[in-house]
Each structure stands twice: as structure tokens, then as C-alpha cells.
């Protein structure tokens, strides 16, 4: 059985950031993921916001890690080549009754150490964001609020960790965790490994994983959030992230421009029983649209290009659960919002815990925090692109016409850590298929490139993991391409 110093369970943004931090040191680390790709849970379907940190209860772990994470994120994004835009957050109130609630938020934010917060009138808010509804009376302005691409961040963090020596095992669903001496044995049934330290970053399944190790009897409730993504044409409708005044169920439905220039609206908040149920509902989507339109009256249903749902992992305490109930077993559980924002700080915090528990953290001689951005080619000038195409003609072959993604960029993604194995994996790494036609034109080409890279027949390529077969076989008398 292979032995490691640390086994991290769950390749979401928290697991990814912890692995990346560990990869700086001479620590044998393995990242275990039950799905066929990384970033398959809440980290791929959320609001993509780096929260300023004003709405967490002062004194909580959430408050501390959010503010710290938000400070760290810009540098992390730069090192990993992930787009990050500090676009300001606005919390709007529609009545004078909302004003005290916003003042309460302002006060909390100040106590949490958030810089630059300001309560502004409707005129000031609309001067910043002319598209805002006339109904807006007051707004809390948070200049440190930012947006990031959450799946690019997670994939890049895992890739960077792998480049620095971390091992990724996908398709490894942890079923049992045992302990002999000071070594944990983590098993999927088919495969097993040993590690001195186990870090539970299993998202909505963090309760089950903790229970396997006898390390916690908390329950994680999946809270579904539905979203709608709008065409880039209406991305210009707003620059900032606009929140409604929050309620007990969370920060409510927000409207934001994404780093890629789309408009994202959502999420709903609905506690559900099924930890796999990421289906959208007619009522949910209707609610998202109605509430978003109250903030930005110009949005139109005609501009929706896709909708989706994600599951936040909601713990019982209202705060993150980051603890070490058993020697060498660390829980990172209940990492709901602001989990994405906090992830770099959670990693820092967990590394501290590991150090205090005796893990030797000797820095590697050869460590690089940097990674070539996914979008390196897209961001070149036309002259620079021309140079690249001369060296490698694949960058002159356009595959995804809506997002402008070339064969060269797709080949890059196919050979860069962590490698994609299916159509959606390529989509998350390159944006091919994320545009207004939603892959109608490019997916037959991307399938071909994937089949070539994986060495499998065209008809065997999948959409997103096992069982998601795209084709049922060949046509009558068709020959293999």
C-alpha cells in the first residue's frame, strides 16, 4: 500500500488550495476525488464572488478567513493565471426599512476589518451603476468585492500542485477510513493508501467522511442554489456585483458580471435531501429571474444562455467547521459561502494546524507558484497571436467560434495538469462550448480532439464522467473515422 504524509479528500476549491500550499514543502501529498475530474461539486457552480467579508458574524472563523482569503486571492489568482476582477460589491435596499439592515452590515464589516465600506444613497449608487432599478433607495458599497472564475481557480490550483509533485487520484471514492498506529488507511474498496494526516474537504459528503474516521457527528445539508447565465451582450448592464439586503437563508439573489463578461444571476436557497440533485426547477428559475429583474430592470429572458444549480455544503453551526477531533484528522466541513473567498486562507490555516501537529514543513528547492494561464493565447495582441500561429498552426484553427477558442488552446488543455477526460472538462478549462451556441458547433470537433488525445473511438467520448455517454454507437454501416 502506497504511503503518503497527507491525503486530502475532495478536489474542490478547498482541497485544491490546501494541496497547493502543501506542494511548497517536502510533503508527500495525495488528492483523492470520487469524480472523473476535479472541481465537480459546489466549486464549479456558485456565484463566483470573492466576498469583501462584511456579512459574516464578527468573531467567527468565517469572518476571519473570508477577510484574509479576500486579501490573498488577488495574488493567488495572479500566480495561477486565473482571471480576477475587483469589481466592487453593492448591497441594495429597496426601502427605508432596509437602511438599518445595511447599517448593521456596515458595522459588521468594519468590525471584521473590511476596508473602504460606505453607505450611499440611491443617486450615488445609480451614478456608479446606471442600470440599477429606480426602486433602489440605499446601497452599501464594498470596493474590495471581486469576481473570479471558480472552476478555473480550482483546476489551476490542482494543476499547480500537481506540477509541484502532488498526486491526484480521480475516481477514488472514499468508503472506509481506518487507523493503525499513526497511519490512516483510506480505502475506496478497490484501492487503498496510507497517510499520516487526512484532511476532509469532501463538501456535501464531509459528514459521511468524518463519520468513517469517527471524527465528528455533524450533518451537512445540501442547500441548492439555481442560477441563470446571460449572454455577454448584457454583461455590460452592470459592472459591480449587486446583492439584495440579506435574509436568514443567505445573501439572496445577486446579479454580477463574471470575469468572462457574462451576466450571472442567482442563487436560490433551498435545503434539499438529495446530495446529488443539481437539477433546476421552474419555480427556482422564475424566482431568480424576477428578483434579478427587480435589481436590473433591463435584463431579458431572451438573453439567457444556460441555467444550472449548485449545492452548498451547509453545516449545523452557521460557521465553518475546521477542527482536528482526532490526531492527524482534520475536518474542513460546512464550507458554504464565503467558502470560495476563504479558500486561500483556509489552506493557510490548515497548514498551521498541520505544522502544530508535527508535520515537518521543509520548503522544496524547486517549487513554482506560477502556472501558465488557460487564457494566455486569448489575451495576446493580434501581432503576438500571429507570431504564435507561425510557430504552431493549431492556434490559427478556430474551434469554438462563440468564445474564440482555437485548436491550439484545446491541445494545451488536453496535455496540462490536471488533464480533462471529457467534453465538460475541456469546456471548463478552455471555455470551448460556453458561448451563446452552447457547444452546438464546436462539440463535434472537441470530441474528435479528445478521442485522439485519449486514444479512444470517437463514439466513446463522454460528456461528464462515467455513464454520460454522448453517442450510442455507429450509424448503419458507418465506418470508424
Amino acid at each position: 500500500m502506497k504511503q503518503y504524509d497527507v491525503a486530502v479528500i475532495g478536489a474542490g476549491v478547498v482541497g485544491a488550495m490546501i494541496c497547493r500550499e502543501l506542494s511548497r514543502f517536502e510533503v508527500r501529498t495525495v488528492l483523492l476525488e470520487r469524480m472523473d475530474d476535479v472541481c465537480m461539486g459546489a466549486s464549479r457552480a456558485n456565484s463566483s464572488i470573492v466576498h469583501a467579508g462584511f456579512d459574516c458574524e464578527p468573531g467567527t472563523l468565517k469572518a476571519r478567513l473570508n477577510v484574509r482569503g479576500s486579501e490573498l486571492m488577488e495574488r493567488v489568482a495572479d500566480e495561477l493565471g486565473v482571471p480576477y476582477v475587483r469589481n466592487t460589491s453593492l448591497v441594495v435596499g429597496f426601502s427605508d426599512e432596509d437602511k438599518p439592515k445595511l447599517e448593521y452590515l456596515l458595522d459588521k464589516g468594519i468590525r471584521n476589518g473590511v476596508r473602504g465600506l460606505k453607505l450611499v444613497t440611491s443617486d450615488e449608487a445609480r451614478a456608479l451603476e446606471p442600470g440599477l432599478s429606480e426602486e433602489v433607495r440605499w446601497a452599501l458599497l464594498a470596493p474590495t468585492g471581486a469576481v473570479i472564475c471558480p472552476y478555473e481557480l480550482t483546476i489551476a490550483a490542482v494543476g499547480n500542485a500537481m506540477d509541484n509533485g502532488v498526486e491526484l487520484r480521480t475516481g477514488f471514492e472514499v468508503r472506509t477510513i481506518g487507523k493503525e498506529g499513526d497511519l490512516y488507511t483510506v480505502s475506496s474498496g478497490e484501492d487503498a493508501l496510507q497517510a499520516k494526516y487526512v484532511i476532509n474537504c469532501a463538501g456535501v459528503y464531509a459528514d459521511a467522511v468524518a463519520a468513517m474516521a469517527g471524527a465528528g457527528d455533524f450533518t451537512i445539508t445540501p442547500r441548492r442554489g439555481e442560477y441563470m447565465l446571460m449572454d455577454k451582450e448584457c454583461g455590460k448592464a452592470v459592472r459591480a456585483t449587486v446583492f439584495r439586503t440579506p435574509t436568514a437563508m443567505g445573501k439572496g439573489i445577486l446579479v454580477t458580471r463574471t470575469v468572462d463578461g457574462n451576466l450571472l444571476m442567482g442563487p436560490t436557497a433551498e435545503n434539499i435531501g438529495d446530495k446529488e440533485d443539481t437539477s433546476t426547477t421552474a419555480q427556482g428559475l422564475e424566482k431568480v429571474f424576477e428578483q434579478a429583474r427587480r435589481v436590473l430592470p433591463a435584463v431579458s429572458m431572451r438573453q439567457v444562455i444556460t441555467s444550472f444549480a449548485g449545492l452548498r455544503a451547509v453545516g449545523p453551526t452557521g460557521d465553518f467547521i475546521i477542527n482536528q477531533p482526532k490526531e492527524g484528522f482534520i475536518n474542513c466541513a460546512g464550507i458554504e459561502s464565503p467558502g470560495l473567498s476563504s479558500a486561500p486562507a483556509i489552506a493557510e490555516y490548515v497548514l498551521e494546524m498541520l505544522g502544530q501537529s508535527g508535520l515537518a514543513l521543509a520548503e522544496k528547492d524547486r517549487y513554482s507558484p506560477r502556472r501558465r494561464p488557460f487564457n494566455w493565447f486569448r489575451n495576446l495582441t493580434p501581432e503576438e497571436k500571429d507570431e504564435v500561429i507561425r510557430k504552431d498552426p493549431a492556434y490559427g484553427r478556430m474551434v469554438c467560434r462563440c468564445e474564440g477558442i482555437t485548436e491550439g488552446e484545446i491541445r494545451d488543455a488536453l496535455t496540462q495538469n490536471p488533464r480533462p477526460r471529457d467534453l465538460d472538462g475541456v469546456k471548463r478549462r478552455t471555455r470551448a462550448g460556453m458561448g451563446r451556441c452552447q457547444g452546438g458547433f464546436c462539440s463535434p470537433v472537441v470530441i474528435e480532439l479528445l478521442a485522439g488525445e485519449l486514444g479512444i473511438p470517437y463514439e466513446c467520448v463522454t460528456k461528464s464522467g462515467k455513464g454520460s455517454y454522448l453517442m450510442t454507437g455507429r450509424t448503419k454501416g458507418g465506418r470508424r473515422s
Binding site: M228, L229, E276, T278, S279, T280, T281, A282, G284, L285, M301, R302, V304, I305, T306, S307, F308, P382, E383, K385, D386, E387, I389, R390, P393, A394, G396, R397, M398, R401, G404, R436, C437, Q438, G439, G440, F441, S443, P444, Y458, E459, T462, K463, S464, G465, K466, G467, S468, Y469, L470, M471, T472, G473, R474, T475, K476, G478, R479, R480, S481
Partner: protein
Amino acid sequence: MSLKTLKTDLAIIGGGPAGMSAAVAAYDAGVRNLLILERDGALGGILQQCIHNGFGLHRFGEELSGPEYAHRYEEMVRQRNIPFKLNTMVLDLTQDRRITATNSEDGVFYVDAGAVILAMGCRERPRGALNTPGTRPAGIYTAGTAQKLVNVKGCMPGRDVVILGSGDIGLIMARRMTLEGARVHAVCELMPYSGGLARNIEQCLHDFDIPLYLSTTVVGIKGRERLESVQIASVDENRRPIPSTIREIPCDTLLLSVGLIPENELTKSAGVPLDRTTQGAVVDQDRMTRVPGIFSCGNVLHVHDLVDYVSDEAAVAGRAAAAYLSGLEPGKEEIEIVPDGLVRYTVPQRLTRREQTRIFFRVGGIYRNVRIVVRDGEREIYSAKKLKVAPGEMESITLSKDVMRTLSGGRLEIGLEETP
């Protein structure tokens, strides 16, 4: 290093049926310095994957398959030695007709053109645009993507199929999937009538006993990895699903034929005003947009039912571009054509010369025993009886030069009226 800059009299963006026909017509009208830019690896556009018959009845007087129809035009392009660049993507177009494009051979390059014909075609509305709730499994394709997989890649997207939308590609694919051994359980159409051609309903559905459910839509999608079933429901007159009518159809494939959208991203980047209904450019009788020297034709201008009409329209644009390049002054009149709502839109939307003009249009519903009426103020200047008009079929009328000469001015109204 500066980028390569080509100069041409006429640049045609798109080498499908519209682009090829426009190029041939422009050449025949005397343009010798012209260039077709095509993003695909071959000329022909979407016709390459339309292996069914029914193309060319009007244009060639015989029934051709899509690739055969495209081949006829490709031969005309080749006979004239009209240059074209394949695998070439146009990235940008400016109002003063500078094109930025990219391909493997030329890198990123500019084309400065005296005139530009837009012939980029259209794309399909995807699932995301419908807001159909449910999961997001494999097995949901637009009909055109499925057509490419079957006809070009030789792969079956699935075995048990439901089709949403009765646009022509959906109807064609119902038959195609059946011929390949799949079971097509239903074609659902939100509207109380089909958006496809009557002949396709007969030949693709009725001949194969495939049920067409009108005023019906898909309200739910189930299946985690692969599609397992869809829920369908009847809709009321406001197109809202009626909960008591929901039923589930097990299937592994959902094909969508729910509308085509002209691909006008470049048109917008050039600042060309669009028609809200067609989602294509506003054009005059020459298919010139409101930006002088930029023309538009084919499915990028408005979605056609028959490729034969695409070719005709593109030839108009090609000849007009040639005239524009030869220095012929554009028309000076400004006559707006205003549809009454029953007529949804017209192409052209405006007239700048008083000459014989054919006006194409589509109606918003099925109407029987109507008159198509054109009025110049109070005066009826044209009328024609029709037994039936339907949204799936493009209609046209021709205003003679004599009628055009009598017009009082700025505005023509076109509509449907009951026959007396």
C-alpha cells in the same frame, strides 16, 4: 512585425449557399477582385450535412441533396476562379470595411474591402435558452448537431428520441433517426401549428407514423449522467404548461429544433442596425445594410425556408455590390415598409429606388382565405388572395415598376385582411 493586409474590392464572409451565390453573381456582374472567407474546411456551409433531398426545385428545376446543391455552386465558383480561403475565421469587421481574420497559413491578417457581403448563416437556439428545468445530462442535442454527428461523423446520438420543436431540421432528423434504427417517440411543438414546411410534416412524420403533439412542450428533464426521460405537457393559450397534462416519456435523447438565430455578431461589431424581429440587418432592395458598402444575405439576414431563395437573395446582393463598386450611386428615396403584425416582418425593410421590387415576408400564425394587402396611406396599391398562409413558409409579393412610380412617399403598410 506588422500584420499582413490584403486588399480586395469585395470580401464575402461565409462560403455557404449565400456566400457562393453572392460571389458568382458579383463576378458575373464584372467584379474580378473578390475573396470568400469561410470558417469551415470546405465550401457549402450547412448544406454539407443536409444529405436529404428537396433542394434546388426552384433554382435548378430538379431535386438535389444538400451536398449536390452546394457542389453546383462550388463548381460555378471554381469555373470563375473566384478565390476563397477555408478554415478562416473572421474575428472582427469595422464600419469602414476592415476585416480581421485568422487561419493557420496567414496567421492573423486584415482584409481591406471596397464592399463586404455578410453571409455567415445562422445558429440553433440551444437548450439553455429555453430554461427547461431539470438535470443536465448527456443526450440533449440541437437537431443540427445531431445531424452532423449522424451524417458527417457516422455516429448515433441515441436510440430513443423525443424531439422538441417542429422546425424543419427537427422534422428532417425525426426521419433520419428513424431510418438509422432509432425510435422517435414524439415531436412536441409549443405552438398550435408547426414551424416547418408542410411537405416535411408529410414526408418526415406522417410517412413514418411519428406523432406530432401541437401546443405541447418539454417541462422537465431527468437523468443524472445520461438522459433517462423527459416530461411533456400541453400548454394553454398563453403557452403556460397545464400541470394536469404532464406525462413522462422514457428516452435517452432529446433533440431541439426550437429556432434559428442569425449569427450577427460581426454585423453588430460593424455598427450595422438590426431588425428586432428578423434579428438580421435592416436592408434595402439591394440587400445593402444601413452602413454603405456592407450587404447582407441568406440566413444571416433572415431565416429562410428554402435554400433556393437564399441563392436568389444572395445573387441580388452580389449584383448590387458590383454596382456599388462600379460607382453607381445608391438610391436616394427612403420608403419604409411597415408590417401590420399579422405579417411579422419583411425583407427588405426599406426601399431606396422606384423599381420593380420583390418583398419577402413571414406571417405570425396560420390564416386562411386572406388577402395580402399593401397600402400607400389610404390607397391600396397591391392585393392578392391566399387560401392559406403559415409561419413555416416564406411568402413574397412583387410590386411592379408602374406601381412603385405612383407611390406618394415614405411609408408602405403591408398586412393581411379578410377576403370580402
